[in-house]
């Protein structure tokens, strides 16, 4: 499975009549790991939903083209909460998004093993911890063998230790499968640790304030001073405090 190229050119989005994104240019190459950071509420999740075709832009183009040819690129979304269907067991939650072929359960089982949930297939979602549920959501995203994996602040709802474990999981799966990853996060440390490139969104309506390349080899060390330097650069690019966006509530954040 290889990734897809994602390109947004001059994309503008309004929600409930309020302009959220203006003239955004965004690119992610096949197999690249790209992060999007910015102040809370700036529109990062909106950007992700545009790529997922959950929201239509009012201007601009969105293209997602698979690297090895083929017309339709598959995207998979991982939300901030696991959003598992409570009435389905873990394995059924994963299988329900996969195409209906006889192999479906076996594939679900394999991907659950890949995220470290082997043995938990028959559990109910209410029996899982936050981190385990998010891993199941990850498995669900991967069972469709997507070209692009879209992650919307996927680790913000878990504790610090679990967050690190989940980051490593994602990194490992990305290295294995080679999909394009677009990660939205407010955690700059996370962005510089995981991504190849970082887009910084700011302003109201939001535009791309800056683009930072993270040209560090992998595996990276979290204590690497180069990472700290990059972190400062990103924060600087975000501009002066306050690091939140003024403005009317508009569409409630889903």
């Amino acid at each position: 499975m290889t990734g897809a190229a994602v390109r947004l050119s001059r994309v503008s989005v309004s929600l409930s009549g309020h302009p959220v994104l203006r003239n955004v240019n965004f690119e992610a190459g096949p197999g690249e790991f790209v992060a999007v950071v910015g102040p809370s509420g700036v529109g990062k999740s909106t950007l992700l939903r545009v790529i997922a075709r959950l929201i239509q832009p009012e201007a601009g183009d969105v293209t997602v083209s698979p690297a090895n040819g083929g017309r339709q690129a598959r995207t998979a979304f991982v939300f901030q909460e696991p959003r598992l269907l409570p009435w389905l067991r873990v394995i059924d939650n994963v299988a329900i998004v996969a195409p209906a072929d006889p192999d479906r359960l076996a594939r679900a089982r394999r991907v659950l093993t890949a995220v470290g949930l082997a043995g938990w297939e028959r559990a109910w979602p209410r029996q899982l911890s936050g981190g385990m549920a998010q891993r199941a959501a990850l498995a669900r995203a991967l069972v469709t063998e997507p070209h692009v994996l879209l992650l919307d602040e996927p680790f913000s709802a878990v504790d610090a230790l679990t967050r690190i474990r989940l980051q490593e999981h994602v990194l490992g799966l990305w290295a294995d499968r080679g999909f394009t990853a677009v990660l939205v996060t407010h955690d700059v440390d996370e962005a510089v640790y995981l991504a190849d490139r970082i887009y910084i969104l700011n302003g109201w309506p939001a535009t791309v304030a800056a683009e930072v390349k993270v040209a560090l080899p992998r595996p990276r060390l979290r204590e690497d001073p180069d990472l700290a330097r990059l972190r400062r650069d990103v924060l600087a690019a975000l501009g002066p405090l306050p690091l939140t966006v003024e403005g009317s509530p508009g569409e409630p954040k889903i």
Partner: protein, 285 residues
């Protein structure tokens, strides 16, 4: 503090670990007897009031009289006949009312236009007190079974419809967005997300509809019936047999409770995935 130091915990008045066997037996005994305390008290009050002459036996018969009448009716097969007639009506009416209730509730919950079409009328019907329907139905449909079954169906329909509609409306939006993100078509969303997600509310409606159906069955049998438990009630009243009235009432109570228990058991089985306080309390039982 050393983790393994239980004597320290005891000294602080904290219980250590799982309860011992004596405690367990006491707790289990308590749980079993608790539901019986109130009925036992009422029974005692009953016997006392007859003994003291606060009520007369021809107004309220003694428990042994009720028992012997009950056995007599059972032995003659008369009780079975009446129970059968009532259950028949109840089930027919309940099915006739609950099925459209779920269907229309789903439609009204998912389609704004359908809701605008149907809901105002249903809300109007809801305002009519239940007993007022009885003479009206008898007038329209005569005194036969039809009137009774339709009446019960009406009683069952309303809460099922209302609860289903509300349940659909309260399905988590996040899950619907998720389904959309993974390419679920509208039918798949309806059957795999909305329907299962509304099940708890639907069951609330089904149980409430069942208890209303019981109430309507009594009302329907009070007038112009020739069999059934409600008829037995009126018959006993007309022929000065309060013992038959009470047998009828008690049978009603048992059957009503029993049917609700069955429905609740079905609910528990189908909704085993629920993550609520009630569900965890039941788990501990």
């Amino acid at each position: 503090m050393a983790v393994g130091d239980l004597s320290d915990l005891k000294a602080r008045g904290l219980r250590s670990g799982a309860p011992g066997p004596v405690r367990r037996i006491l707790r289990a005994g308590f749980g079993v007897t608790l539901p019986w305390v109130l009925p036992a008290g009422l029974l005692g009050l009953w016997v006392l009031s007859l003994d003291r002459g606060w009520v007369r036996p021809y107004q309220l018969p003694t428990p042994p009289t009720i028992m012997s009448t009950f056995l007599e009716l059972l032995g003659r097969g008369e009780l079975a006949r009446h129970v059968g007639a009532t259950l028949n009506r109840l089930l027919a009416g309940y099915a006739l009312g609950a099925a459209p209730g779920v269907l229309f509730g789903l439609l009204a919950g998912t389609s704004v236009n359908f809701r605008r079409f149907l809901d105002p009328t249903v809300q109007g019907l809801r305002a009519v007190p239940s007993l007022a329907w009885v003479p009206l139905f008898l007038l329209w449909f005569g005194i036969g079974e039809q009137a009774r079954v339709y009446l019960i169906a009406l009683g069952a329909f309303l809460p099922v419809y209302l609860n289903t509609m509300a349940a659909v409306g309260s399905v988590d939006r996040k899950l619907i967005e998720l389904a959309g993100a993974y390419g679920f078509g509208p039918l798949k969303i309806l059957f795999r997300v909305i329907l299962p997600g509304s099940m708890p509310g639907v069951f609330t409606g089904l149980r409430s509809g069942l208890s209303l159906a019981w109430m309507f069955v009594v009302a329907a049998e009070l007038i112009a019936a020739s069999n059934g438990l409600g008829f037995m009630l009126v018959e006993g009243q007309s022929t000065m047999r309060p013992d038959r009235v009470l047998v009828s009432l008690l049978t009603f109570a048992v059957l009503g409770r029993g049917s609700d228990t069955l429905l609740a058991a079905l609910e528990r089985r189908l909704l085993v995935w629920r993550d609520t306080l009630a569900a965890t309390q039941e788990e501990r039982r």
